[in-house]
Amino acid sequence: MATQPPILQMRRITKTFPGVRALTDVDLTVRRGEVHAVVGENGAGKSTLMNVLSGVHPHGSYTGEILLDGEPCAFRSIRDSEQRGIVIIHQELALSPYLSVAENIFLGNERMRGGVIDWNATNSEAARLIARVGLDAEPDDKIVDLGVGRQQLVEIAKALSKEVRLLILDEPTAALNDEDSAHLLGLMRQLREQGITMILISHKLNEIAAIADSVTVLRDGATIQTLDLHDEAHPVTEEQVIRLMVGRDLENRYPDRTPAVGEEVLRIEDWTVHHPVDTERVVVDHASLDVRRGEVVGLAGLMGAGRTELAMSVFGHAYGTGISGRLYVAGREVRATTVEEAIRHGLAYASEDRKRYGLNLIQDITTNITAANLRALARHGVVDRYRETSVAERFRRNLRIKTPTVQTVVGQLSGGNQQKVALAKWIYTEPEVLILDEPTRGIDVGAKYEIYQVINELAAAGKGVLVISSELSELLGICDRVFAMSQGRITGVVPRAEASQERLMHLMTMDREGVSR
């Protein structure tokens, strides 16, 4: 691969925002036909670099040069870069939910004849592209009816319709389950064989090891190193990449902990939940699980297994209809049909999507931390602002939230610090049990470690912690026991000593017939 000439050279790119230098003399060279991974902690400058490349930050707003096939480029908009065959697929997908797959593929690039849309050409070309990306959908299916995994494929089909030569994928598998991720990686291999060059931005190092040909590490807005992953003489290890990313040795990705497990604090029995719209459909099927004090328990499952649905339905029926089953908190049976009651009974649920369901991004840290327990700070309905601030300050110290002040607006924080604010909010409700749904999604390696420390501290304080995660290595790293779910049922529980990724994956993919109640 190293013999191929470069398709893209970015040289000495420097980009400043008011008050912040986001990129300093960044170099990036991508060879034709390779998958080139770009890694770095959140805030390392990956997204900014890609925005410079794709024309989101127009020519002139940065210094340095971009050469495509050796020719200098001066993109003033995304349209300019797309005309040269550079297409970026953002982490947050840019599809129009109520338009069809075909309409989305050709959005802004419509197949026309005589000034009107040529529906035959649109649908037949869409069908061809759908087949090419291995998408299981029809051209006239609505986007809103597809899962995230299939939506991702629509984005790729859309890119292919634009004669893409250099495809940039920003965290393409962040929201995908393992199965969809595997499919996507397979598709990327196929595209590479067809001569499409790809830049892959990802936090998932195993994915990079599986597919990338080379990897460039960014840190603090500067290029640290580019590594050739096919170099037999110097094989690249994950630890080496992590070290380059964080600038220090990260001996252990999971903090040590000695579990001190006490009595049972959460028990769910025979829990059944139906879909809120399609009320006949069973989403959670007679699920039972338990968590003890001081214990970190995992809940593994592929997307659609019903993990989040189980958690949210337990949390004051925040999801679903026709909910039945028994719920015990600290040994007492509890009926909580509203979130308010669930909180009062000692439950806490931190959502997997902190921006949509967890935080008020336009308000400050203090307000967010106290949002779920404001009454504790109020007398006769009037909030004690000073006590509130001291609460926020306490959490800033204890959870090591990096911010100038607790009056900083949450939307300005990095993902890891936002997650800490979301955790602080729930810790402040003084729950018996915390259900943490994907607590480290989309945050960088260093911040993950700190989140694990918080989880351990919570367990050490005698709380029960239930962690839902799509990263099996994470569950194996931090949990004492792991429950597996498949198709709405609990398919097994594995203690840490016996757990392995293979064992869990086996349980997570068990079909209905294979499960005994």
Binding site: Q363, L374, Q407
Partner: protein, 389 residues
């Protein structure tokens, strides 16, 4: 100094709106050859625009909770009509009639809040329906006009706080006293809050900005006080009503659990639901409150006109919405201040007054007001866009 400049830069919106108000006042003072700030004109400016300020307070809360209320103008006419009929045809004592009016407003608010909060119909639709329903009912009940209202009722919007203390060099002493209390309250309140913040290591604005703001605000109050004390009546009663409302509602929005829940619901509804906030109750109460304030505006409008008028309050909803947006309330909800909306209402009021004194046709007045609204919100969005990357 650079710290001060930075601070002002970051808060350009907040100060910008105050500066805009002062600039508009000065502009019209020049354009009207000094007629705008003639004492009697200042008094009637307040009396004629009290309804906008009252409605804007409720509207800020509605918009912060990411709703809208298009029905307030019709509610003003309906409640005003009912009040007039109670006093005129049934000889209900005026104070009791006002209480009934406020209760009726709250019931109307509850009606609309029910559809919005518990049935889930968008507020735009519910209040558009309300706009038609209550305008229609007003016409059915009132016909065109019900005149002949008690003197006490008329005094609400046309009268002044009685001059029981006499004059000092043709200045009304009661008005001077009210102004002094207002300035003292402002200074003491702000200084105490600043000291408390310092004690708790909270960020405070730079001292120069703080002092500057206090001096400007204090001077404005003193100046208005001086003008009013020379006006024919002294302090208009509605000014006292509005002043009390501003203080009370600012407290509710900034300091109480309920106010914080309104911001939480508007900032991120789903997050509020998952934080155990009873979001439906918040939505419901915001509309009940809006109904209450619309009824008060109806009382004030009816009193000012001296009659229940079926066409009263036409387009008032747009005045209130415009005041809220000019005052910096976010179109998408979650952000907005009572004080901002009051300044927005004053800008609208000064425009009304100044253009009327200049005898600008009402058609052109509408054009100008429309442009001001557009520019204010555009300025808001642009300054916000520059704030984030």
């Amino acid at each position: 100094m650079s710290e001060l400049a930075q601070y002002l830069g970051r808060n350009v919106r907040q100060y910008g709106i105050m500066i805009a108000l002062v600039a508009i006042v000065l502009l019209f003072q020049v354009l009207t050859d000094g007629l705008l700030l003639v004492p009697n004109n200042v008094a009637s400016l307040i009396q004629q625009n009290a309804y906008v300020m009252i409605l804007a307070i409720g509207m800020v809360m509605v918009i912060v909770a990411r709703h809208i209320d298009l029905s307030v103008g019709s509610v003003v006419a309906f409640v005003g009509g009912v009040t007039a009929i109670l006093m005129n045809s049934y000889e209900v004592p005026w104070l009791l009639a006002v209480v009934v009016a406020l209760a009726l407003g709250a019931v109307i608010g509850a009606w609309q809040g029910f559809w919005v909060a518990y049935v889930g119909i968008p507020a735009f639709i519910v209040t558009l329906a309300g706009m038609l329903i209550f305008r229609g009912l007003a016409i059915v009940l009132v016909g065109t006009t019900v005149a002949g209202l008690p003197r006490g009722f008329i005094r609400i919007s046309n009268g002044s706080v009685p001059n029981v203390l006499g004059f000092v060099a043709n200045l009304d002493v009661v008005t001077l006293l009210i102004g002094a209390v207002a300035v003292a309250g402002l200074v003491v309140g702000q200084v105490r809050s600043r000291l408390a913040k310092r004690r708790h290591d909270l960020a405070v604005e730079p001292l120069a900005a703080f002092v500057g703001r206090l001096v400007v605000a204090g001077a404005l109050i003193a100046f208005v006080t001086y003008l009013l004390s020379r006006s024919a009546g002294g302090t208009p009663i509605v000014l006292v009503i509005v002043g009390v409302l501003v203080v009370a509602y600012s407290f509710v929005m900034n300091r109480t659990v309920f106010g914080r829940h309104v911001y939480a619901v508007g900032g991120n509804l789903q997050a509020a639901v998952l934080s155990g906030i009873n979001t439906r109750r918040v939505d419901f109460l915001v509309f009940v409150n809006m109904g209450l304030l619309a009824a008060l505006a109806g009382v004030v409008t009816t009193s000012r006109a001296g009659a229940g008028v079926a066409s009263a309050g036409t387009l008032y909803e747009l005045d209130a919405i415009a005041a809220a947006f000019i005052g910096g309330t976010a179109v998408s909800g979650g952000v907005g201040r009572i004080s901002g909306a009051i300044v927005g209402a004053l800008i609208m009021g000064v425009l009304n007054m100044g253009l009327s004194i200049m005898a600008v046709e009402s058609a052109w007045q509408q054009v100008i007001k429309g442009l001001v609204l557009l520019v204010a919100v555009a300025f808001d969005l642009v300054s916000k866009r520059r704030g984030v990357r």
